[in-house]
């Protein structure tokens, strides 16, 4: 019998294996419980599920979403609902970067102890206050009209995102039934174009090429190239809008001369362009609160001079994410120091106790030297004065650059404008992209103008 007893140790191994598994399972559930419970597959959350989530407010305490009588209710203004769809989210978690998708945990006050459906007296939902101004968003949505595009405005002194609008959009009360993926009215409707898309930048990228020159070359400002409208590189043609003649950096940027910046990029070379763009956070996802953005692309490692030339004017494989462009602008506007943009101002419990406040969580990155940043700012300011005229942004002392990103033969180009105000009391940077539309100054310019005028009049 004693031997049998000793041999029964094999059962003990099985028992301990089982107990180990239970431990592992407990650990797995405990660590990932929020991910599991708040996954979109969880039917406790769908439809009426959001009925227990807390409020979402804008910077002026306008209620963007709240729950009442077992229902999730959004702002009563249909245009505010549409303008903030991509920021706030809908009932079905279609928009992955939205607050209602990423901050479910906080909105519910979910914890593993009481689960998804705690008794009424233990409910602990939180309210989230955003940095967004819903009224400005509404104006931006109207300005975008029927275009597919994105508008983003940020305070470069504080990092607050004031306006973030993406079109096409829809009313969260009437989610579309999309039968055809190619339906142009709903192309990429679930993507927030400010965060989750990158576009061919065209001429706005010249600012980056200029920055690379300023950071690397002593004589960058005085360097002169001659534009004869067409330049042969590797037996292929780089073309310009006009024959601009001899230009220095400042005037080439003002005239948006392709030949100048293509030549500049070729002279700077692949290595400097690659390493500078990487240091400017290209090819990297940015973190905006819990949101991870789509990365911007710049890579000329395997390109020839012709391609390197086009890459310097924002064509080739270049892609720019609107939120990333805001980060770059913040550095230009703020002497090289870019305050990380953010959306969440504070998270508070239903009794008003503040659980999280941004004031303790502001970060920044030094992306440019002060001299480069200031020189870029003044060149872009010069561009507004000489090229667009201050009437576009009256009283803002604006600096800006437009762009027209060519995408493919059968589509119209992406229209871009980005810039900011140099005034102390209106420290805003802005970025507007309109897909498949036309020239930057004709399409994106008026939208940016409308939004900035409205914003600065409010102030």
């Amino acid at each position: 019998m004693r031997e049998t007893r000793i041999r029964s140790i094999i059962l003990s191994f099985i028992i301990f294996g089982f107990l180990f598994g239970l431990g592992l399972l407990s650990f797995k559930l405990f660590v990932n419980s929020a991910t599991y419970a708040l996954s979109p597959i969880n039917r406790h959350l769908l439809g009426n599920g959001l009925s227990r989530a807390g409020d979402i407010l804008d910077r002026n305490n306008v209620v963007l979403a709240h729950s009442e009588d077992e229902k999730r209710l959004y702002n009563q203004d249909v245009n505010i609902r549409k303008a903030l769809l991509h920021t706030v989210g809908d009932n079905e978690s279609h928009i992955q970067t939205s607050i209602q998708s990423l901050y479910r945990n906080e909105l519910y006050g979910y914890n593993f102890i009481f689960g998804i459906d705690p008794p009424e007296f233990l409910k602990n939902s939180n309210n989230i206050k955003l940095t967004i101004d819903s009224n400005i968003c509404k104006i931006a949505l109207n300005a975008l009209g029927n275009n597919r595009g994105a508008v983003c405005v940020c305070n470069y002194k504080t990092g607050e995102i004031i306006c973030m609008v993406s079109t096409p959009t829809y009313d969260p009360y009437k989610p579309p039934v999309i039968t055809n993926d190619k339906d142009p009215n709903y192309e990429g409707v679930y993507l927030n174009r400010v965060l989750s898309c990158s576009f061919t930048p065209g001429s706005v990228f010249k600012v980056v090429t200029a920055a690379c020159a300023l950071e690397n070359e002593q004589d960058a400002e005085d360097r002169i190239y001659t534009c004869k409208k067409i330049m042969d590189v590797d037996n292929k043609k780089i073309t310009c809008m006009a024959a601009h003649g001899e230009k220095d950096l400042k005037n080439a940027l003002m005239r948006s001369c392709n030949i100048y910046f293509a030549s500049l990029a070729i002279d700077l070379g692949k290595d400097k362009m690659n390493s500078f763009t990487n240091s400017l956070l290209f090819n990297k996802r940015l973190q905006i609160d819990k949101i991870s953005t789509k990365e911007s692309n710049y890579n000329v490692t395997n390109s020839n001079n012709y391609e390197l030339g086009w890459s310097g004017v924002g064509q080739y494989t270049d892609l720019l994410n609107p939120m990333h462009s805001i980060v770059i602008l913040n550095a230009i506007a703020n002497s090289g120091e870019s305050i990380d943009p953010y959306l969440i101002k504070e998270i508070s419990e239903s009794d008003g106790t503040i659980k999280y406040h941004i004031d303790n969580n502001i970060n920044s990155h030094t992306l440019l030297t002060k001299s480069t940043a200031d020189k870029l700012k003044s060149m872009m300011r010069y561009n507004v004065q000489k090229n667009y005229g201050d009437s576009l942004f009256p009283g803002l002392n604006a600096f800006a650059k437009t762009g027209t990103g060519e995408t493919s033969e059968n589509k119209k180009p992406n229209a871009w404008i980005f810039g900011g105000s140099t005034n102390e009391n209106t420290p805003y940077s802005f970025c507007v992209v309109v897909e498949d539309s036309g020239f930057g100054i004709n399409v994106a310019g008026p939208i940016a103008s409308t939004v900035m005028k409205a914003l600065c009049k409010v102030k």
């Binding site: 031997e3 029964s8 059962l11 598994g21 239970l22 559930l29 599991y36 969880n42 406790h44």
Partner: protein
């Protein structure tokens, strides 16, 4: 008033959990009740040296080997010379192929021979006289109390608390879905009545003094049944019939293996019947959800592999006397290979794994050979490798293993939902019938652990898992006190199969192991599974020496 409802509901949930924990705790505690202290049953005294050799167990090996229960240092004695064992009729000795034989009062014995007090047993050059324990000069502690007395709750009282637990469950249903409470309460009351009848039959008809293991099984069934009844009442009646059949099966097996020597007469017959069952299964099976492990006649569907689990243990386990005389495992290995092979042909890989674990435990406990273990595992790995090479589509089943949550709408559909709903339940659950996992395909059989986790909470789900673990601990604890190695081996094998099946169920559905789709013993919906769980539990119950030894007074 309406504000009170959530408070009452929550308190009810907490109360059920506490009650369930107490039931499990007291049941396991009272398994210690009436258990025999390690004490000498009888004595052997060396005639020359007057050295006393106490006999401690129901079955004892005698020999020169240091692992023998009664070790005698005499070069003329074989390493494993004889077995002295006790049966209902008294004490016996049998020669286990020793070199020079065993002599009883001067005569060489042949086969199993009864021995009496004052008989002289001669092995090699040593002669021993059999004495009762109180004739000992050395052991004075024999005056100590015969049994430990831990003052536990009596079995009937525990069953009463289980009844109360079921009433709390019904109360929970009453708050959540007041309209369906009659539909729900009716089958539960029938179930409770069945349990009490089972208790009284066991107590008065079979005069069993203990009922702890049964109580724990009833607790597990209660938890499963209340979940099922709140999902679809119409599923419950076949489940109730299976429970009753399971209880009958349980009582029958315990009665049938009362005398372990008789079981071996049936061993070959049982093995043949099991193989025939498999053949019938393979010929007439219909394919359900990708496995061909069901046969049906009339309106009745059966899973023969579940019943063969019981046959498997019958064929595998044996008494110490047999272990010492027939050392080779060829017959059993062959039988196991047929069983596991047939399960592979049925594509029932989960059950094949359960059989394999049962095989490992039996093979090791019979032979003690680590080589056999390694050889079996190597064969199994090679076999699985061959299967995966020739039937690559089986690989798809394992494709998302460990990443199920990343494919929530493809191959990880079930596992992702189990994880999501387990996390939704929290520690106390969302309440009976309030879950969503129940609407997923095969939820009541293959995903039962998740359903319990969601509706009754993580604590209750863990309690279920720990109760099954408790069965295994109990089986291991009994392995030395059992009345025969037949019981030790069969109960350890049964416990290993139960716990391994629970492991496949729990870890398969939560993506820690690949999903194989097996039931959770006693808890899941499924008649064949319920009956076989009771069958396996009968072996664990039989290994408890109190089952046959102590009569109700």
């Amino acid at each position: 008033m309406t504000d009170l409802v959530p408070i009452i509901l929550f308190s009810l949930k907490v109360l059920t959990i506490i009650l369930a924990i107490l039931i499990v705790y007291f049941s396991f505690k009272s398994t210690k009740n009436f258990s025999r202290n390690r004490r000498t049953l009888i004595l052997l005294e060396d005639i020359n040296t007057k050295e006393e050799l106490p006999i401690l167990y129901w079955e004892n090996t005698v020999g020169r080997n240091k692992h023998c229960d009664i070790k005698i240092n005499d070069p003329a004695i074989s390493r494993e010379h004889a077995v002295i064992f006790r049966r209902k009729e008294g004490w016996f000795i049998t020669d286990t192929n020793s070199k020079y034989g065993v002599f009883l009062n001067g005569e060489k014995i042949n086969g199993k021979t009864k021995i009496f007090i004052n008989d002289i047993i001669t092995l090699g050059e040593t002669s021993l006289v059999l004495k009762t324990a109180d004739q000992s000069k050395e052991i004075s502690s024999n005056k100590e109390k015969l049994f430990k007395n831990v003052k536990p709750l009596r079995p009937g009282k525990i069953l009463f608390f289980i009844t109360l637990l079921n009433l709390l469950f019904i109360g929970e249903t009453f708050i959540i879905k007041p309209n369906s409470v009659i539909n729900v309460a009716f089958p539960i009351i029938i179930f409770l009545a069945t349990c009490w009848i089972f208790f009284f039959i066991s107590k008065y008809l079979f005069s069993r003094a203990t009922f702890e293991i049964e109580n724990l099984a009833i607790l597990l069934i209660s938890i499963g049944l209340n979940v099922i009844v709140n999902y679809k009442v119409e599923l419950i009646f076949s489940q109730l019939i299976s429970i009753a059949l399971g209880m009958i099966c349980f009582l029958f097996i315990i009665w049938f293996i009362k005398n372990p020597d008789n079981v071996k007469k049936f061993r070959l017959l049982i093995a043949i019947i099991a193989v025939i069952f498999f053949v019938i299964n393979l010929l007439f099976a219909k394919e359900i959800n990708g496995s061909r492990n069901w046969i049906s006649f009339g309106g009745l569907s059966l899973q023969p592999s579940e019943f063969i689990k019981i046959a498997f243990i019958f064929v595998g386990a044996s008494t110490l006397e047999d272990l010492q005389t027939t050392k080779n495992l060829t017959g059993f290995i062959l039988f196991s290979a047929i069983c596991i092979g047939a399960l592979f042909l049925m594509k029932d890989f989960g059950t094949a794994c359960v059989f394999f674990v049962g095989f490992l435990v039996i093979a090791f406990m019979r032979s003690g050979s680590i080589r056999t273990l390694i050889f079996s595992c190597a064969t199994a790995i090679l076999g699985s490798f061959l299967v995966l090479t020739f039937k690559p589509y089986i690989k798809d089943r394992f494709a998302v293993w460990g990443h199920a949550f990343e494919y929530p709408n493809a191959a990880g559909y079930q596992q992702a939902r189990v994880l999501s709903y387990c996390a939704s339940g929290g520690l106390f659950g969302v309440g009976l019938g309030n879950g969503y996992l129940q609407y997923i395909f095969a939820s009541m059989s293959d995903l039962m652990f998740g359903v319990i986790c969601e509706e009754l909470g993580f604590i209750m789900a863990m309690l279920v898992a720990l109760t099954i673990t408790g069965f295994a601990f109990f089986a291991r604890g009994q392995s030395i006190k059992s009345r025969s190695t037949f019981y030790s081996i069969s109960s350890c094998a049964a416990a290993a199969m139960l716990i391994f099946q629970a492991a496949l169920h729990i870890f398969g559905s939560t993506d820690i192991l690949p999903l194989t789709g097996v039931t959770l013993p006693f808890v899941s919906l499924g008649g064949s599974s319920m009956i076989s769980s009771f069958g396996l539990l009968a072996f664990i119950k039989a290994s408890d020496e109190r089952t046959y030894a102590i009569r109700r007074n």
